[in-house]
């Protein structure tokens, strides 16, 4: 069993050893190396000590009251619509009062607050929160490729449908890849494009036949992002981004042209 010569890779193996993630052969080889190499052994001891210390941190108690409250969700979930506790009810009231006070200067913040409070189930809000989540996630895509011949089959294989996925790199919008979003309880394909430092998420929900075509421009702001919605052929599209509206409109036009050209 050859151990990697790169110190960074060896470091990763040390962590994997402490975490019990190595196979027997690699474990054996690494343990032999530890005997010969005191510096590596010290690092190993350090990792193990750190892990023990983190494991021994006090865990939050599951109080009887909390356990009962959660158990009650399984029986009468609508009861949970009320605030979780006096503590959070007070916080909610305080947040509301604060929002009212700063309306004049923080209109967009208030809009976002109102949207997330009042319309959590609307499709636009769901698209916005999925976009926000993707900005937080380690990778905004599940399949990373600028090649539509990779992205389309990947989506097809997972959920049996895939929108056109043209690479618009020559127009300044490069295709990063795709992922599957679950919106309104249905898996839908999402494409991710990058324009300068901004990500654009394009969610494509299959049309159910009732709406033939919605012109582009049925847009609004959702969760502080720009959002443009339109329908072409089999899909209703939602393009969302933190970039400015003009750029997003430009993207939508170019996407529609490229998709129509096939």
């Amino acid at each position: 069993m050859e151990l990697p010569s790169d110190p960074a890779d060896l470091q990763l193996l040390l962590h994997a050893l402490v975490d019990g993630e190595l196979d027997a052969a690699t474990t054996l080889a690494l343990e032999r190396r530890l005997v010969e190499d005191p510096a590596l052994a010290a690092e190993h001891a350090r990792i193990a000590a750190l892990q023990t210390a983190v494991r021994n941190l006090p865990r939050p108690d599951v109080s009887d009251a909390f356990q009962a409250r959660i158990a009650a969700l399984g029986v009468a979930p609508q009861a949970a619509a009320r605030p979780a506790s006096a503590h959070s009810a007070w916080l909610g009231w305080r947040a509301m009062a604060a929002s009212i006070l700063v309306t004049a200067v923080l209109t967009s913040g208030l809009t976002q607050w109102a949207m997330t409070r009042n319309a959590p189930d609307s499709f636009a809000a769901a698209v916005a929160s999925s976009h926000r989540r993707s900005l937080l996630a380690a990778s905004p895509v599940d399949v990373a490729s600028s090649d539509r011949h990779t992205v389309k089959p990947w989506l097809d294989a997972r959920i049996g449908l895939s929108p056109a996925a043209p690479d618009l790199a020559k127009d300044g919008f490069s295709l990063l890849g795709g992922r599957v979003e679950v919106i309104a309880d249905k898996p839908v394909p999402a494409l991710v494009y990058k324009h300068r430092e901004h990500l654009i998420t394009l969610v494509a929900a299959p049309q159910d036949g009732r709406t033939a075509s919605i012109p582009a421009g049925a847009e609004r702001a959702a969760g502080g992002f720009s959002l443009i919605r339109w329908a072409d052929g089999a899909f209703t599209y939602w393009a969302i981004s933190d970039t400015d509206r003009a750029t997003l409109e430009d993207f939508v036009n170019r996407f529609r042209e490229a998709a129509a050209a096939g």
């Binding site: 470091q11 990763l12 001891a45 210390a53 941190l57 939050p60 979930p77 996630a137 380690a138």
Partner: protein, 186 residues
């Protein structure tokens, strides 16, 4: 939505309440621990977990069996970030630019103040808690999922939708940052 959970109940011969108590209730402690570290506060963690459990109840139909704990923790993680985005957007370290994070971690790696194992073992819980709270979220969540929740590398990779190698390098960096922090607080 309760209707959907009931549909599943018909298939499995169990009420959704029974399924909920089998799938969700055994993992409340893990759920609270994860939410506590991601939100940074034990009181908020209860609210977040309650919200997550309600989502879990509504989404019981999407739970296809398998690792119930990892399934619930995924929901708790999403609820934690949604809660942070709503209440403390500035606390979130976005992963918009991973290069920044790499630079940050590289600084810690070269920090000369890395303490010996014995010193780490003696570090008091408060210092360690502070050090964990200072970790950027992408590192913190991997550390907590591994060392507090006890998930395996593969489970974490599946949950975060990142390659196994990313989980390993983030965990390594998270621990390097922690060790450096403990060394600096001597």
């Amino acid at each position: 939505m309760p209707g959907e959970a009931d549909d599943v109940a018909v298939l499995t011969g169990k009420t959704s309440a029974e399924r909920f108590s089998e799938v969700v209730l055994p993992h409340l402690s893990d759920a609270l621990a994860l939410a506590r570290w991601l939100t940074g506060n034990a009181d908020d963690a209860e609210d977040v977990v309650q919200e997550a459990c309600l989502k879990a109840y509504k989404g019981l139909a999407t739970y296809a069996g398998g690792n119930a704990r990892a399934w619930l923790l995924t929901i708790v993680r999403n609820a934690s970030y949604a809660w942070l985005a709503r209440n403390h957007p500035r606390r979130i370290v976005a992963v918009g630019d991973l290069a920044d994070l790499d630079a940050l971690a590289a600084d810690a790696d070269t920090d000369a103040g890395t303490p010996e194992a014995a010193l780490i073992a003696k570090a008091d819980a408060a210092a360690l808690e502070t050090a964990i709270t200072l970790l950027p979220h992408p590192f913190r969540e991997v550390l907590v999922l591994r060392d507090v929740n006890g998930l395996g590398y593969r489970e974490i990779a599946t949950m975060l939708h990142v390659p196994l190698g990313t989980v390993m390098s983030r965990l390594s960096r998270a621990r390097a940052l922690l060790a450096a922090q403990l060394g600096g607080s001597r």
